[in-house]
Every structure is written in structure tokens, then in C-alpha cells.
Point group: C2
Chain length 242, copies 2
DNA sequence: TAGTGGTCTAGACCACGTA
DNA sequence: ACGTGGTCTAGACCACTAA
């Protein structure tokens, strides 16, 4: 059972996607939403704030909540979404080849927290996978999962979906991630696994994912063929303090 | 004069940056914030929600608001921030060379709205600039600004800061943008202006920026040397509906 | 003038964590 | 048992847009 505001959010989002509320038109006013859903105004406003955050609407004072063009799901880096979830949304055939699985690896602690120059390492499960989209190997994913959080990660979780395993089987609450995108020349491993030559560049997405209690538990390096890489973003301007 | 919640947000953010509230410690509780600032709880909660959105804190039920590592300002694509603002934050010497300025250009309407196959064009001011960071030309910016919103854009605005001109001199309220990042091989123009050879790839950021009343008014194509490109992001996981 | 969103309040009840 | 955050409410006042 979700919140009232989340239910209203989902309902409005769905109606926007299905063009019950069309692009360029206004949603019902806040007072009308109160009556429609039997909620208080602040509750409806929370739902609307979520839609505005995610680029579905623009609120205009004195007028209403205008439905605007919103970002579609771009392939692989917007938000924290697993491949299985994305493939489902995009109707793409994905295959997932685990070519390395090391339950007893270790990783420098600095990968998880850029605190001091800690030289210690932490025990992790290391996984390397190739994502095959529509028959072409496009992405290498290297995942390192802390054994202190997930002691025994079954290989089948890597072959299916790590997120589904973490959330549905272990009950972990994944909360946020920091990501960094850079561009790098292809390595030998990239050339071999992605079938590209050394003139190809690679878009590298490094991320650290944390749980609701703020424990970082997963470090991921995702390596995309440059010519297949695409990232979409929606951003609101913050008042600049000068 | 800002909101109460914005004032509290700014004050807390500043205290986190200055390590009055240190990484790994908890902010005062919501009830304490009410007393400290003389506000109601929902007002304080709005400030905290903003800090959580921007990756400053993680709220943990039953415990409090934990200060976490937050994204620094990465160079050029996080949020909607102008170069002048970024250069100020990062203490980098930037120069800005306007090498093309065309007050009577036109652009296909489709660049602004991916509606139908509209074949009309719209009048724009076209600007091409090279950004020189620490003595190296790293970025080409191509801006197209709708003449219906900004009829007479002075060249000096392009030489200084477009955003400062829009916001401070024209009083335009810049609200949101959609961006797309892709990678492309260097063109002849890239090679000439950025002093790279044809083995270099280019990170291309295309964006459409809109005002508070949801009018799209600026289309930008920002072309970065791949080896200098870096983008940092903070994302929270949304509940997935299946 | 009437309707819209923007902000703030004081209070209530719940769920979770700690002791 | 107590303090924490999570949610919701009913009402108030303000600023902006439109007719």
C-alpha cells in the first residue's frame, strides 16, 4: 500500500502517458484534485511536485499545471534503473552474458568512499557481464558488491537481475547513487568483448550505490560503446547565489 | 527576499559545506529545527527535502538526517549552470572566444519541439563560442536563441554571460532544460577549433532550455573534447512499478 | 473579482529505532 | 517509553492571471 500522494502521482502520470491529459493542456486545478481524489491540498501538491521534478508538468502561477514534453527513458544511465527494468520498458531483446564471477575478490576501500588515502581493501563479490542488445554486444558491466552486506551472492542473481535479487529476495532498500561519466579510449578487454577496434572510444559510467541507511554497498563500472551511448536528462534551474 | 524554507535550506547547506555539520553526523532533528529557526515542521521538512534531493543528506527514520558525501560541481553538464558561474565555483581561469555571431539566422522548428514533422523554421540569434580553460580550448558552444523571446541580443552578452544577461538584464526566469549526451567523431570544425586530430571523439550535449511559462527559447549544442569531459550525477531510486 | 498556484501553520496519527 | 522521521489535514494569507 502506497501513500495517498504516491497514488495520485501514479494516476496522473499514467493519465499523462495515455494522453488523457494531453501535451500542452492543463491538469485539473489543485482544488479540483482535492475533490477528485478526496485529499487535502498539500497532499495533491506533493504529487504535482513529483511530476514537476520528473519533467512531466510545469506549474504556472495563476494558470495551472501545464503538461510538457518529458524525457523518455534513454538507455542506460538515467536514474537508478536495472537493465531488466529498462529492457521491459523499451521492448528490446537483451541478453546478459556473465563472463567472470569471483565470490572472493577484494577492492580498495577508496572506491566506496573517497575519504582519506585509506589503503585497506574490502571483500566483495566481483562480476563481469556483457549486455547484448538486439544481437550486438554494447556494454560491459563490472559490479563489485560488498560481502558485508551480501555475503553469498548466487551466480544466478547475476545472470538474471541483481536489483531484483537485492530488493525482492533480500529485502534491501536501494536508495541513491552517485555516478560519474567520463570518456576513455578502448582497452584490450573492451575491444575483445565489444568487438570494436582501437579507434573506438568508450563511455564509462562509474557509480556507487547506497541503501536507505546510507551504507554504500555496490560499486559499478559500466563501459559503453561510444557510438551507442546516449544519456538524457531533465534539470531544473536552481537560483544562483551571486 | 526568499522563502523561509529556502533560507533554512541555504543556511543548512552552508553549514554542511563549512563542516559545522560534518560528514557522517546528524543534523538537528526536525523538532529542533522548528525551535532553532522559529518555523513549523513542514517548512523545515521542505528544506530537508531539498538537501536530500541534492545529495547532501540521507533521512533515516527513527534516527535523523545524516550528512553524506555529495556531488561536487562537475564541469559542465550538471544542472543548468552557466560557465561564468562554474568558473567562479571552481576557481578556473576561463576565456570565451566568440568566433561567430549571426543576429539573423534561422533554425528548424523541430530543434525546439519534437512535435510533428514541422518543416517551418524560426528566427534565432546564432552564436558560436570556444571555451578556453586554463589556456586550452576544450569546448565549443553553439547557441541559438529565439528572436521572439530575445529580439536584439547584443554581442557583448555573448562575450560575457548569456544567462546573466537573460536573467539580470531582461528579467527572464529560466526554469528547466532537457539535455542529451551523445558521442560523435570529431568534425572538421571540432578539429580546427579544439586543436585535436581525427582520432579524437567529441562528447556532444544538446539541450533545450525553457522559461517559467514553459516557452522553449534556447537550443544549445555543446561539444567537448572527449578526454576532458566529465559529468557527475546524483540520483535517487524510484519505486519500480512491477 | 474569482480562480490559480506559493507558502506557512499547528496539530494529529503512524512507523521505526534506541534504550 | 520516547524521540525520530513520514504522512495527512484544514485553514490561512499572499501573488499572479484572467475575464
Amino acid at each position: 500500500m502506497l501513500n495517498k500522494s504516491a497514488l495520485v502521482y501514479d494516476d496522473l502520470k499514467q493519465k499523462i502517458d495515455q494522453e488523457v491529459y494531453k501535451l500542452g493542456t492543463y491538469l485539473p486545478s489543485e482544488n479540483q484534485l482535492c475533490a477528485l481524489y478526496g485529499i487535502s491540498r498539500e497532499t495533491g501538491r506533493k504529487a504535482l511536485a513529483g511530476l514537476a521534478d520528473n519533467g512531466y508538468i510545469q506549474k504556472i502561477r495563476g494558470k495551472g499545471s501545464l503538461v510538457i514534453e518529458h524525457r523518455q527513458y534513454a538507455f542506460p544511465v538515467s536514474g537508478i534503473v536495472s537493465y531488466k527494468e529498462l529492457a521491459h520498458k523499451l521492448n528490446v531483446t537483451t541478453t546478459n552474458i556473465v563472463y567472470e564471477f569471483e565470490p572472493q575478490a577484494s577492492l580498495p576501500y577508496g572506491s566506496f568512499a573517497s575519504l582519506g588515502g585509506e589503503q585497506t581493501t574490502v571483500p566483495v563479490t566481483a562480476i563481469k557481464r556483457v549486455r547484448v542488445l538486439n544481437g550486438e554486444p554494447d556494454i560491459i558491466d563490472k559490479d563489485y558488491i560488498l560481502k558485508s552486506v551480501v555475503p553469498n551472492l548466487p551466480r544466478r542473481a547475476a545472470e538474471d537481475s541483481l536489483y531484483a535479487y537485492f530488493e525482492q529476495e533480500l529485502g534491501l532498500a536501494i536508495s541513491y547513487a552517485t555516478k560519474e561519466i567520463t570518456m576513455e579510449p578502448a582497452t584490450a578487454e573492451d575491444r575483445e568483448r565489444l568487438h570494436v577496434d582501437d579507434s573506438m572510444w568508450i563511455a564509462v559510467v562509474r557509480s556507487v550505490t547506497s541503501l536507505e541507511d546510507a551504507r554504500a554497498f555496490q560499486y559499478t563500472e559500466s563501459r559503453h560503446r561510444a557510438d551507442k551511448f546516449r544519456f538524457r536528462d531533465f534539470a531544473r534551474r536552481q537560483p544562483q547565489p551571486f
